[in-house]
Subunit: 373 residues, 2 copies
């Protein structure tokens, strides 16, 4: 056993450290609703595995004033993120740090959990300043855009290009308020093929009520997390049109078929079984019933106003990920002459753009290639 | 083309009849809520393909008096099943026939759509009296029990044993009231391998708002329709315990994993892709959100009364399929030493029997073998 234990640098990475090695430092980059919910989990696990992880977990907090006090100071004294997760106590080993570079200094695990539009800025600040052994776990659902404007780009690829380090992802059916309330749920960690980080990351996130499966299929896991938002828009449209559970189930199923086909075509090498994980079918269901994209798109149909206006009214300045993701997906389909194979994705884009009435959604489903069989 | 058209008896079966062949007669055996909703579809399609199907479709009606009138006469004069699908007009080519044998006489397609406990009695009456070319399409979701009491038996196998004819099945995410309201949905026809009936059956059921896919995997299609009720019980329990969308998504996903594993183990030869059809994941979702098993099991947790009592209060004399299906599944798992591989199925059975508190459901999910990865 001892031989295996210290057999290689790789195996040391995912086994409890002996007294001769210092425990792995962990930083949470982000402190919104989801970041704070995750801090409650990581605070627990790093204490439980304190020989493997440094139980002092730094959390980067974008500093802001809350009723005349600094948010980071409130978190460090009252152990509560009063702004983004009020009413929930954070473990005392979570330490808020307002300086980004300082919060990540010497950390080997950087948990990225910020809105996707902040990724670039954060990476630029961290470039060249993180530990040479650092790797990132991205919890960011969404996509970026290729610089030449020709389609979507994975957030993990964006991070990897800037920080030149391995990037794994964690996705799943994880509405943040329920996770914060310790409701039982599952999540999927997607590692790069032959990654040595899987077992260590499982220990970092796996708790009694947050159950992790690890798959070596990071791209698929991340793409599921982005593309489900397009399907949720379709579900919102049919909800807005007054259709029921049968129709929504058809939307979810046909959406899953298009997600699968899209991933297989543009990111070959995915495993079909990954779509059966929490990041796949489970997150898709949750999002099509409970998520913000569904809600905005239902309201869009009922209100008959432009999407931007509905978002402004409902999301308090934030934006829904579905419409821009649908736009990038559409560009890719158009550039590769695959429009007719993805009628649901295409319809979502056209409806969001005002180029098609919402009722057109049903016509697109009706003639879906899946019904050829 | 002509050569192919009349090339064999088999191909004639699924191509439009020429004037030299008489159109295929269709009978609907059953006239409840679902049978009447299906009659609206089959009435349409047989008229549209009147060279292939006899547009006079007989519907067997279990005769009963409704406000002093015979139900069959009401249907034949007012074209409405006032008892089981009030407010919806049936096509005029649907003819109610109260005599079972007479309703099926000379029909080549018998659509079985009755509660599963009536199947045996109906088959006994029809034994030896149906057309030698007849085949059955079963729309019955549920299971029967092996005569030696050792586990579940497919309804289609039961019908086949009595009537000695081919039996295909139709299942999907099809809550009957929504189908009756022409809401868009999908369904799956499961044919026996190398069945010649698939294309013909697709024409018989496929309409603008009821979209059919055909797969040659009848057992899997039917098993999905039965086993989803067990998963819906689990969803009802977690709903009753106050859990949210994340937990329900985990229940649906883990339930799907157990359905898949169960089918692969006990009915080898299934196709993984069948679980992605409407009969699989879509029907499972609909049932876990909208079905009666979910409802009864939620109420069971909240009321703290025995299951039989809750069913009596909520289902107006009918029974939920989930608990007895779970019992038969449990017997099979016990007899084959596979209890530990199906913790969700087992927990549903034990909770229904009062052998385990509903909160035990979450403990079973927590230690699910799916989380070993």
């Amino acid at each position: 056993m001892t031989v295996r234990f210290f057999g290689s640098a790789a195996s040391a990475l995912f086994r409890p450290n002996s007294t001769t090695m210092s425990p792995t430092k962990v930083t949470i980059v982000g402190s919104g609703n989801w970041g704070s919910a995750i801090a409650r989990i990581v605070g627990q696990t790093t204490k439980a595995y304190s020989n493997e992880f440094d139980p002092t977990v730094r959390m980067w907090v974008f500093e802001e004033m809350v009723n005349g006090e600094k948010l980071s100071e409130i978190i460090n004294t009252r152990h509560e993120n009063v702004k983004y997760l009020p009413g929930k106590i954070l473990p005392e080993n979570i330490v808020a740090v307002p300086d980004l570079v300082q919060s990540c200094d010497g950390s080997e695990i950087l948990i990225f959990v910020v809105p996707h539009q902040f990724v670039k800025g954060i990476c630029k600040q961290l470039e060249g300043k993180i530990s040479p052994n650092a790797h990132v776990v991205s919890l960011i659902k969404g996509v970026s855009v290729q610089e030449n404007g020709t389609g979507l780009k994975l957030i993990s690829d964006e991070i990897r290009e800037y920080l030149k380090c391995p990037v794994d992802v964690l996705m799943g059916a994880n509405l943040a308020p329920e996770v914060a309330n310790d409701m039982f749920c599952e999540a999927t960690i997607g590692c790069q093929t032959r990654s040595v980080h899987g077992p260590m990351l499982k220990r970092l996130f796996h708790t009694d009520n947050f159950r992790i499966s690890v798959v070596e299929d990071a791209h698929t896991v991340e793409l599921c997390g982005a593309l489900k938002n397009v399907v949720a828009c379709a579900a919102g449209f049919t909800d807005g049109l007054g259709y029921g559970d049968n129709t929504k189930a058809a939307v979810i199923r046909l959406g899953l078929m298009e997600i699968t086909k899209f991933v297989e075509h543009y990111y070959p090498g995915s495993n079909l079984s990954t779509f059966f994980e929490s990041c796949g079918i489970a997150d898709l269901i949750t999002t099509c019933y409970g998520g913000r994209n569904r809600k905005v798109c239902e309201a869009f149909v009922k209100a008959g106003k432009p999407m931007a206006e509905v978002e402004k009214e409902l999301l308090n300045g934030q934006s829904a990920q579905g419409p821009p993701t649908a736009a990038e997906v559409f560009h890719m389909l158009e550039a590769t002459n695959l429009i007719s194979s993805f009628p649901l994705f295409v319809a979502v884009h056209r409806i969001c753009q005002g180029e098609m009435p919402p009722s057109g959604m049903i016509d697109c489903l009706r003639d879906h290639p899946e019904h050829q069989a």
